[in-house]
Symmetry: C2
């Protein structure tokens, strides 16, 4: 492993040629990858987070345990100070019952693989709802003018993610209205419950959960994700047996909000300590699986970045804030509170938030970055192409950088936001399902992601122009 | 799905602006990806090859079945003609016994996970060999001047693949001398057998086989791969108990060569039928696992390329040869025979082999190409960057294009050779092991690989300059 002599670090502060600066950057980046691949702790940290603590739904006991753990790792890795920023988060439980079956005209029952959508109400009195089914692919099929009558029915939303889109995130985005808004759209036209085709390209029997949003102007009806195989089967079966009913039973429950918080570790800058760069992922996860890719990977990428930079003897110019956000999955209250306080810091003190990075797209092999920044800052980031070329990191596209850091966009001056872009082909196989577990994260891919994240932080720290 | 009107294809033959040509290429490439992702058959073909036929060691009955199957798929997909090019291949069997254990000074036995290296002799009389062990990391530690005495011992080669290299193939290349040449190096200094640390970054109990080469000037001694976990454990245990012995038993056997062959499907060009472009992978595999990534993926990439081009109505300018090579793993006799006959075709008839492409690096998400070509042809291929950018295919590096097609380099004029480069981070987890099975290939990644392979073939066909 190459350790960077402190002499090299000195270069970044002085008047040096661009060539020498590029050499210095190149050696720094190489030392970061060597440390991540040769002495990495991200994988063991992910094992601890997923196997010892487990899934971490906002408001749960395990989320609270994860907060303590994350803070202690930051301390062990040498953060100057750590604290919890209190955030009031929702508390919801899936319950113990999530059952559905189809009942044919001949009375034959077929069990369906389902799980409640996050935030769903239970079935009335937690009892079985039985109703006929209509199948739609688009929400506007439920508009009054469409002539579809959903009154008293269960609506199956069965639009698949588009397989020909190369970007699986775009395919997800093209289908997510069914999960987010389907329940209220169906309720507004009289439905009693909804089943939503799971958001994955995989054809299997895994249901994938995720947040729904109830509108205030429609009844709150129970909503469940159904596996892709079951959704396709049910839609097909209904063609030959339109009188088929579905029985659904859920006992989800919502409780009073509770106080949890964002976990923050700070490392004070040596040259411009009043300028803040934030780097993070979200600590909360859904309550099935282990939140390994979503977003255990982002959590350990963040912690590993701190560890790597300390290990190679890096001395940050700006103040670096390592943040494990709470409540990304069902409210983004952690991200909103962080941005609110950052705004206060910007206004009331001499601090300024110049940049933020997030890892919340899985632990797969890193391909590049989504850039959400001014034209000038975007050009700075795109100038890193050659530095990342040896690591096969090549995507420098504009796009959303991450849910948790996105509220920082409203700050003035506008901070530069970057999102780590891992390869996305496998992400939705696991996302929000019982299979988002440690065993489905690859050690080297996770380490390469951590190195890429850490390298980008160093380059931001060294080269992001200060606000005028 | 977009199907290309034949009008568009016409453009490539006429005098058109570069801009129109780029538009036409872009639409063609898009239609290829749409077909692969929307109507792909590669995954089902791989299931048939791996689950119905199974592994396919040269000389085996299953390799012969795979030849018949491959030829029939080419016929079903509309090749103008198909044939088998006879190739005499080795016949070797692993046998039924591959056992090893360590015997401590206290007599305690610990079983070790091993498998014979390909081509190894059995232990003498197929009986147990028991001997003390010496551990080395480099072959030159066995040189006479090193002072190491291996007489009567079992040598454990225990150099790990370098984890800090980003390119796992380079890490493999940096450790492979232990497997390929370790047995003869050890035998020359008196050893009775060797164990070779499996060539993978993974720390697990899977042994990974692969070919060894016996020198003529040293005794042929038995050689086995040992899992990384067992190799590390054994090396560590020997430090505290140097008197520990290892027992090894193998009953491998070599037989007379048998005749099998390369499977070839030809599609005659419409403009320059005398110019041949070859595209292929290798049909044979090792005899553990199912040869799913190595090289079932390359086989189905090749077949899918034919299917896709027919489905979109492509009309090739040159003659395309789809080739499933035999015997890549332990002799490359298929690749050598193909090049020998290509040389005869070049000399004796009016044919000329202008290009060849191979897929033999797994079914993972495609990253780009290894280019083995003249400077001018390399520039042509690098000119495709923008066309492939929407598909995240970005590597256009010079390098070896594939074992099977590499003998074509000796032809005059020199053909342009391209190798498909999938992401390599997971490849050596499975390579040559019992886990190189269908279940470890991802459907979309396999389909993206097929599309990338097919698109490159079309671009070669349309834009590779003809020899002067």
């Amino acid at each position: 492993m190459l350790r960077i002599p402190s002499l090299l670090l000195f270069f970044s502060c002085g008047a040096v040629t661009l060539h020498a600066q590029a050499d210095s950057d190149s050696l720094l980046v190489r030392s970061i990858y060597d440390e991540a691949l040769g002495h990495g702790e991200a994988y063991e940290n992910l094992r601890t987070l997923t196997k010892e603590i487990g899934h971490r739904l906002s408001g749960s006991q395990s989320a609270a345990e994860a907060m303590d753990w994350g803070k202690s790792v930051m301390e062990a890795y040498g953060a100057d100070r750590t604290w919890i920023m209190p955030v009031t988060v929702p508390s919801w439980t899936r319950g113990t019952i999530a059952e559905a079956s189809s009942i044919g005209a001949d009375g034959a029952a077929t069990a369906l693989h389902i799980t409640a959508l996050g935030g769903s109400v239970g079935t009335p009195n937690n009892a079985i709802v039985e109703a006929p089914v209509i199948v739609v692919k688009r929400l506007d099929e439920l508009n009054p003018e469409s002539g579809v009558d959903a009154t008293g029915k269960i609506v199956l939303f069965n639009r698949a993610m588009d397989p020909v889109l190369i970007n699986t995130g775009a395919a997800y985005g093209g289908a997510i209205d069914q999960r987010g808004n389907g329940a209220s759209a169906a309720a507004a036209s009289g439905a009693v419950a909804v089943l939503v085709r799971s958001l994955t390209h995989a054809l299997d029997t895994l249901p994938h959960t995720g947040a729904l949003r109830y509108r205030d102007d429609a009844p709150r009806i129970p909503a469940a994700a159904i596996s892709t195989v079951d959704a396709s089967w049910l839609a097909h079966a209904l063609e030959s047996d339109p009188a088929m009913n579905v029985r659904l039973q859920l006992n989800c429950e919502a409780f009073e909000d509770v106080e949890q918080g964002n976990v923050i570790g700070e490392w004070t800058g040596t040259v411009k300590p009043h300028e803040i760069i934030t780097i993070g992922g979200h600590l909360d996860s859904w309550d099935i699986g282990e939140g390994a890719h979503d977003d255990g990977a982002g959590v350990v990428h963040t912690l590993e970045t701190l560890r790597i930079l300390k290990a190679i003897g890096y001395e940050p110019q700006r103040t670096l804030r390592f943040v494990l956000f709470i409540n990304e999955e069902n409210g983004n209250r952690g991200g909103k509170e962080y941005a609110r306080q950052a705004g206060i810091e910007n206004e009331q003190s001499k601090l300024v938030h110049v940049g933020a990075m997030e890892s919340d797209a899985g632990g797969f092999v890193p391909r590049g970055f989504r850039i959400d920044a001014s034209d000038a800052a975007t050009d700075v980031v795109r100038g890193w192409r050659a530095l990342f070329d040896p690591y096969n990191v090549h995507l420098f596209r504009r796009g959303g950088a991450g849910v948790d850091i996105s509220p920082l966009k409203t700050l003035s001056p506008r901070p530069t936001l970057l999102g780590l872009s891992p390869d996305g082909q496998r992400y939705f196989d696991f996302h929000h399902s019982s299979q988002d577990i440690f065993e489905n994260v690859h050690k080297r891919e996770l380490e390469l992601g951590a190195a890429t994240f850490a390298a980008a932080l160093v380059l931001l720290d060294r080269h992001l122009p200060s606000p005028e």
